[in-house]
């Protein structure tokens, strides 16, 4: 059983590298079109966003299918989002700008769409940095807090995509819908949990808490006056 899972895991690791292999093939066969550097940016950025969406999709899938044991894959997919984002950044610096720092500097300062890309990258960088199990243990409650920023990374990534386009908004719109659905799932779960926890409070205490609330209310009104 364990062997099988490990096998599946190593297979997943390999599958996630296929987009990169595909990219290399397209570079070698000159299939990236008239502006291959632009195409390279879009390809790498796209895959980073896709892996980010997949990472966010794990929890809902787990909840719906009740299939546990996907948490490992969430980490794997998240790391791949970071991996492709890193390649995206390196392509920008090396392939596109050939490390001419003055041009890079002006480009970043004058291009607000890049600021969102940088924000998204800083977040996924920190998440990747704290992804090992020992880091999770050491950080305790803060780990979850930090890793919630993945939502912000996804939204910033999409703005980064949207904000540089003149037309053709279909692709970023697609990601927006996906991320919106994934986020609304979380909101639904949160709302449901809240309702559940309210109902979980024993009757006597509930009555007490209602009394407490009633007590507080007139006080607040008094203060306002």
């Amino acid at each position: 059983m364990i062997l099988q899972v490990n096998n599946l895991r190593s297979k997943s690791i390999a599958v996630c590298l296929l987009p990169l292999l595909w990219l290399f093939v397209d570079i070698a066969f000159d299939n990236l079109g008239a502006n291959p550097i632009q195409a390279l940016h879009i390809r790498l950025g796209d895959w980073s966003l896709r892996f980010l969406c997949l990472t966010l999709a794990i929890t809902p899938i787990q909840a719906i299918t009740k299939w546990r044991g996907m948490a490992d894959y969430r980490q794997l997919l998240g790391l791949y989002a970071f991996f492709y984002a890193t390649l995206h950044l390196l392509a920008y610096l090396l392939v596109d700008h050939a490390l001419v720092w003055r041009m890079v500097g002006i480009d970043i300062i004058e291009s607000p769409y890049i600021w969102f890309g940088i924000l998204a990258y800083i977040i996924v960088f920190l998440l990747a940095l704290t992804s090992p199990k020992w880091a999770k243990k050491r950080m305790g409650k803060n780990w979850k807090k930090l890793h919630r920023y993945i939502y912000m990374a996804a939204v910033a990534g999409i703005i980064h995509y949207f904000w540089q386009l003149k037309g053709n908004l279909a692709e970023p719109l697609f990601y927006s819908i996906i991320v919106f659905l994934l986020l609304s799932f979380r909101v639904l779960v949160w709302v449901k949990n809240r309702q559940l926890s309210k109902m979980m409070i024993p009757r006597g205490q509930r009555a007490l808490s209602l009394v407490d609330e009633q007590d507080v209310m007139p006080e607040a009104i008094r203060k306002r006056r």
Partner: protein, 318 residues
């Protein structure tokens, strides 16, 4: 009027198309497909004879500007009437009907009328104009246009002294142009405009071809404007109407996003687009790990056109 181009473009700045072609060659050889070794000039002279085999070069064409390979020019162009991405618009544009083609010239002129393109071409002198082309999306290329001076054409219809602006209107064929059909994004048909002195400037041309042959449809066939010191969207494609006006026309992109695209839209590295920098550009045909090109004020045509904008705040009139 002869305006000397004193500031040539150093050869080192130009992407070596040979690198590009070498790479292509090796790959094509690997695929064992027949690849005609394309020289620098007539890259599209494959099967048929080009429309204009040899043409005199305009005063502004320098041998130091190496044209971008035709295949790249033909496959990287915006045509929003057809699609919002370059691949689809190129294939869809092949449906455009360009024959016969007439142009209405009207407004503040002595001799308004409808003119057939072939009649106009009989009157005008065609030349090869090797110009830089800089898109607002921060990419650039060098195109060997075939065209004639817009000013010369306008002179034949005798502009009145009240003609201060020129409005250009592009073709309206919603039945074959999906984005026109859906009324998507811009107000259709596409409209562009120039100040009369910009229109009369000898650098400003109407192009009917490139690389010695008729314009590919996606590149603006059968007749397009080329204003090399302005961002590419000013160079309107498939023109059907030219009006001389007292007041400035409302142009398509400027109407769509007035804070992003101004009426002038002169190439200027110091004035960023609100969302991205215009300081540098990616030249089509340049290889990986090569730096971008530093964008020049007026796209390198400052010597010829800077005087048109004397005493103007270019940041305000962007």
């Amino acid at each position: 009027m002869i305006i000397k181009t004193t500031k040539d473009i150093p050869a080192s700045e130009i992407t070596d198309p040979l690198i590009f072609k070498e790479r292509r060659k090796i790959i094509k050889a690997m695929l064992a497909t027949v690849f005609s070794g394309v020289g620098i000039a007539p890259a599209l002279a494959n099967n048929h004879n080009p429309a204009w085999a040899t043409l005199p070069k305009s005063d502004f064409s320098t041998d130091l500007l190496t044209p971008t390979p035709a295949e790249l020019i033909k496959n990287y162009t915006n045509y929003y009437e057809f699609a919002f991405n370059k691949q689809d618009s190129t294939s869809l544009a092949q449906k455009l009907r360009t024959d016969p083609w007439s142009i209405e010239i009207s407004g503040e002129v002595e001799k308004p009328g409808n003119y057939y393109l072939e009649d106009i071409l009989r009157q005008q002198t065609l030349q090869e104009h090797i110009y830089r082309f800089r898109c607002v999306e921060a990419w650039s290329m060098v195109v060997p246009w075939v065209g004639f001076s817009l000013g010369n054409l306008l002179k034949t219809v005798k502009p009145l002294s009240t003609a201060n602006f020129v409005k250009f209107t592009a073709v309206h064929q919603p039945e074959i142009m999906p984005r026109q059909h859906n009324n998507a994004m811009l107000e259709w048909p596409y409209v562009e405009g120039l100040r009369i002195d910009e229109a009369m400037h000898p650098l400003t041309i109407l192009a009917v071809g490139m690389y010695g042959d008729v314009l590919p449809k996606q590149n603006g066939a059968p007749l397009r404007l080329v204003v090399p010191w302005k961002y590419g969207f000013k160079s309107i494609k498939a023109i059907v109407k030219i009006e001389l006006l007292k007041r400035p026309p409302i142009t398509s992109w400027s109407q769509f996003a007035p804070d992003e695209y101004g009426f002038y839209s002169n190439v200027n590295p110091a004035v960023a687009h609100p969302r991205w920098s215009q300081n540098s550009e990616r030249q089509l045909g340049s290889s990986f790990f090569t730096s971008r090109r530093q964008t020049e004020l007026f796209n390198g045509y400052g010597e010829q056109v800077a005087s048109l904008y004397r005493d103007m705040d270019l940041r305000h009139f962007f």
